[in-house]
């Protein structure tokens, strides 16, 4: 196999690999700005320079020349090479900053150049704390600057589009954003304008940067030149905790990180998963966080009056006891997890009702064969695999108005807002509702209303449109949950090192709600049905063991990247 020697360490490689990517994959931390694995390498930042040599070949024999000690003579290229564009070949010898003073100096020089016209406004920059320029300047940059002139001025706080703001002075012209719109999203909405040191990215005349994936340029920007109009100046990166979870806005289940401060979700960023969303996240998936923070219920209610959870569970159980099992309609939800839908099926079985159904939420023409889907729910696949099938709004309305239903049990959905029925239609029908928000239009008709934990507060599983089963992790705590004790919630410094006596410690914004896997077993217990699970992990173990379509999709198997399901279980 072909061999390459990097800093006196020999690696084997196959195929047409580029040197920088190979180094990054093998733990050699080469600084770089313009290179991104998903796009072409323009080699314009000149930060990843290395020394590259090849064995010196004897022209007559065609064999490498040997020195007196029997070592191959290596001929180094006269100029430093950009590793991002350098194709590896057999016998190549590479010296990085770890073993070459020349390379170390070159990387320092490039950073000095990058910083002379950079505004160095880190104290007010959103990127500070997770800024590649900042990090690499600390690691590889010069101690100070020899630049004693006025910096170049360029346009600042320019709205490139409805969601992205440009600070031209911070830009280091890596062209990642330009290449994103050209090569990845193919919208071609950005280009570099001006020349030389005045260069900055801009939209062509009359064009707005409004493509549905525009905010990805904020993540790939190696400085704070492109910031989110929505999130800028809201929080510093180190004040927030980060939880690896998945997006709940569509059926793609894009992997993302939820950023939380004071128990409020403040932003959503993509998390790399090459099987699902690669490096990207649609703008709509990033915008989907306000509903987790706002209009949240404060207490369970019975007939509109606040009650304790015990009373609410008992009231729900009483409703179920009062009516005949086959006159109960259980409405599952494609917004709810596999675990919760499974428990709902078990509850339906326990009261002698038929299997639950769910309302699909499909918006034809919304999808784009990339991350956006026509299906606006995250778990329709999961419902189907559990044997919970879709019911159209019309069919649901017909059943509700036919008089055959005495009790409608709605888990985490809103049949009134979906147009399946009106509040008036539900008169004479008892309604038990698990709801996320006080804006739920079915709420006025609910006899028992049970606030439910949202996708960012619960533990569970969603199955995406391609049959990829993935884990949800709680990003924010709910009332009664201690952030620091929950193993799955991402922790920030305040969580790790803070105490309730610190002035920035807060217990505000803890929503008084419960996930389905707490509520449903509690109601079942009132009914005399035992549903004792240690938690959602145990529920999923039971699902994988009893439902063939989920075979193998345990929490351990799903991990952070999820598993691909087939009809017969997990693919090999």
């Amino acid at each position: 196999m072909a061999k390459v020697t990097i800093d006196n360490q020999t690696f084997e490689f196959e195929g047409q690999e580029k040197l920088l990517q190979f180094c990054l994959d093998h733990g050699v931390d080469l600084p770089h700005f313009c290179y991104h694995p998903s796009m072409s390498a323009p080699a314009n930042c000149r930060q990843c320079l290395v020394e590259v040599g090849m064995p010196q070949m004897n022209r007559e024999t065609g064999q490498p020349n040997m020195d007196e000690d029997g070592n191959t003579v290596i001929q180094f290229m006269p100029k430093l090479q950009t590793s991002c564009s350098m194709q590896m070949s057999d016998g190549m010898v590479v010296k990085t900053h770890c073993s070459s003073e020349t390379v170390k100096r070159a990387q320092k020089d490039t950073l000095e150049f990058l910083l002379i016209n950079h505004p160095l406004d880190c104290p007010i920059c959103d990127q500070a704390g997770h800024c590649p320029l900042q990090n690499q300047a600390y690691k590889h940059g010069p101690e100070g600057s020899r630049f004693e002139f006025e910096k170049v001025h360029k346009p600042k706080h320019i709205d490139l589009g409805p969601r992205v703001v440009l600070d031209g002075e911070r830009c280091i012209n890596c062209t990642r954003c330009i290449r994103f719109t050209r090569e990845v999203s193919k919208s071609d909405q950005l280009t570099i304008i001006e020349r030389g040191v005045k260069n900055y990215p801009m939209t062509p005349p009359g064009v707005e940067f409004d493509e549905p994936y525009s905010m990805n340029v904020i993540d790939i920007c190696p400085v704070g030149a492109l910031t989110s109009k929505d999130h800028r100046f809201k929080a510093r990166i180190w004040e927030m905790s980060k939880t690896a979870s998945i997006s709940a806005v569509g059926a793609k289940g894009s992997n993302c990180d939820y950023w939380v401060k004071d128990n409020l979700i403040l932003k959503v960023t993509p998390r790399t998963n090459m099987d699902v969303n690669e490096y990207w996240l649609a703008d709509e998936e990033r915008a989907d966080y306000k509903r987790f923070n706002e209009d949240r219920p404060t207490s369970p209610t019975v007939s509109g009056a606040d009650v304790s959870w015990d009373m609410a569970w008992k009231a729900a159980a009483d409703c179920l006891k009062e009516v005949d099992g086959n006159r109960v309609l259980f409405l599952g939800s494609a917004y709810a997890t596999v675990e919760d839908n499974y428990l709902l099926s078990r509850l339906a079985e326990a009261v002698g009702s038929s299997a639950p159904v769910y309302l699909p939420h499909v918006e034809n023409g919304h999808g784009d064969d990339w991350l956006r889907t026509d299906d606006r729910t995250p778990n329709a696949q999961g419902c189907e695999r559990l044997g919970i099938h879709a019911v159209s709004a019309d069919d649901l309305k017909a059943r509700l108005t036919s008089g055959e239903v005495d009790l409608l049990y709605v888990m985490e959905d809103d049949p009134v807002a979906s147009g399946a029925c009106s509040v008036a239609d539900l008169e004479g029908i008892k309604v038990v509702l698990h709801h996320y928000n006080t804006t739920n239009a079915t709420l006025p008709a609910a006899d028992v209303a049970l606030p439910a934990a949202t996708a960012v507060e619960t533990v569970g599983t969603y199955v995406n449109i391609d049959g990829h089963a993935q884990r949800l992790r709680p990003a924010k705590a709910i009332a009664g949950v201690n952030r620091t004790l929950s193993m799955e919630i991402g922790k920030c410094r305040a969580d790790r090192h803070g105490t309730p006596f610190d002035k920035w410690y807060t217990e505000s914004n803890l929503v008084n709600c419960h996930p389905g896997w707490v509520t449903i077993p509690s109601i079942a217990a009132e009914l005399g049905t035992e549903m004792t699970y240690k938690g959602p992990k145990a529920i999923m173990e039971e699902v994988t063991a009893s439902v063939l379509a989920f075979k193998g999709a345990t929490y351990d198997a799903m991990g952070e990247m999820g598993v691909r399901l087939t009809e017969a279980g997990v693919t090999a």
Binding site: L49, K79, L80, A106, D109, T110, N173, G196, V197
Partner: protein
């Protein structure tokens, strides 16, 4: 020793003294398009023999780098009828001190067309582009008019002169950026993209315009091709310097009595060019310095040019380069720091901004040289300038960073005392404090 032989009796061939030569009928009457006719209509020539003749002539590129032209042509991959291939004629002449191609375009445009067509024949190319900088508006109009006439006559286009060789010439106006003269930038500009230079490899012969095999030659280089075909490679190689032969257009500017473009063999003594060709120094002043081939070539002091001839080898020995043979002559009154300030301003203005060292470095160089020129500089600035040059040279995609750094490096190196003279004097108080400290 002059290598130009009997240059005083040299007969001009690139710009012969013929009135109205730019007109097709005049050009034709003066052996115009004879070489092309010979190549496309007779069995004497095939593409390989044309290339070999150019190789034999020893012609080296006149665009600055001096790469052997025949060798460059032979880099084109074998002909594949399904893959288009292109020739670009680089008329984006814009380096300070260089103004020779415009003479050819103004006074002998058909020689350029004929050269392009012969080169296209040698490389089996059906489409050629003539990229001219936009500031040359007048000559673009003139050339477009003349090209139309050549099309009408059947010298360009389908079945040239009744042969089975067809080739188009497309005149493309640049928007006036120095960087477009860099070959890979020129290709991007031609494609309608931002003129950022491309990384090499792949080289243009592998992946050029729109990803297809492409050769790029300078205007003057291609203008030599018809002469080589007409008079033979041997004739050409016999003109001027042995290793760098041929007629060459010397663009002489600056403090001489008769600045202008002069056609002479290569290998002319610099002193001959100044004293006899350009009529000596203006006002009888002393020569102080000169740039032999456009502003990016290293400056030479008056005492460095004794016996130096205008060819690659001699100039390399003297510590400079042939470049485009655009000679900038400066007399004793020239403020070399001010001159360098103007040059650094040019490169600052023209850096495309793609690569970090050039984008940031060119501006910084100008800042420091400006400060020095205004008498506000410090001695340490000189070392900083040299340091910055080292940080720029060889670290970018194209050679613009080198072209920007060399004038600074060599001017400081060769005129250091002038720079030191313009630096701020340490104040007596500060010196006294230093002494007692």
């Amino acid at each position: 020793m002059s290598k130009a032989g009997d240059w005083r009796n040299y007969q001009r061939v690139l710009l012969p003294p013929v009135k109205d030569l730019h007109k097709l009928e005049v050009y034709e009457a003066n052996e115009g398009y004879a070489a092309l006719r010979d190549v496309v209509t007779t069995d004497k020539w095939d593409p390989t023999s044309v290339t070999n003749e150019v190789k034999k002539s020893g012609l080296k590129g006149r665009g600055g780098a001096g790469f052997p032209t025949g060798l460059k042509w032979s880099f084109m991959p074998p002909v594949d009828p399904d893959i288009p291939r292109f020739l670009c004629c680089n008329g984006d002449e814009s380096e300070p001190g260089t103004f020779k191609d415009r003479q050819l375009m103004e006074y002998n445009p058909h020689l350029v067309f004929e050269g392009m067509l012969i080169a296209a024949y040698a490389m089996s190319i059906k489409t050629t582009f003539l990229y001219i900088r936009g500031e040359f508006a007048d000559w673009i109009t003139l050339m477009e008019k003349e090209l139309e006439k050549a099309y009408e006559k059947g010298f360009v286009g389908k079945n040239i002169m009744g042969s089975d060789f067809s080739c188009d010439i497309v005149i493309h106006k640049g928007a006036g950026a120095y960087i477009c003269g860099e070959e890979s930038s020129l290709m991007n500009s031609l494609e309608g993209k931002r003129a950022y230079p491309r990384i090499k490899p792949p080289f243009p012969a592998q992946k050029g315009v729109w990803g297809y095999p492409t050769t790029i030659n300078n205007v003057e280089t291609l203008a030599c091709a018809p002469l080589i075909i007409r008079k033979g490679g041997e004739w050409f190689s016999g003109i001027g310097s042995e290793k760098h032969p041929g007629p060459v257009l010397y663009g002489i500017s600056g403090h001489v009595n008769r600045p202008g473009v002069y056609e002479f063999p290569t290998g002319m003594l610099i002193t001959d060019l100044i004293e006899e060709v350009a009529g000596g120094m203006r006002g009888g002043k002393q020569l102080k310095a000169l740039i032999p081939g456009g502003s990016s070539t290293p400056i030479l002091r008056a005492d460095m040019i004794e016996g130096v001839t205008m060819d690659a080898d001699s100039l390399r020995e003297a510590g400079s380069m042939m470049g485009t043979s655009g000679m900038l002559i400066m007399d004793e009154d020239t403020d070399i720091v001010s001159w360098l300030r103007r040059i650094t301003h040019f490169y600052h203005h023209e850096s495309c901004g793609q690569c970090t060292p050039c984008r940031e470095g060119t501006g910084w160089l100008e800042n420091i040289v400006t400060r020095l020129d205004e008498g506000e500089g410090n001695l340490r600035d000189l070392d900083l300038l040299i340091d910055l040059c080292s940080q720029m040279e060889g670290r970018t995609v194209c050679a613009l960073a080198d072209a920007a750094a060399w004038p600074v490096r060599y001017t400081i190196d060769r005129f250091r005392s002038e720079f030191e003279g313009k630096c701020k004097k340490p104040s007596p108080v500060a010196s006294a404090e230093l002494a007692t400290a």
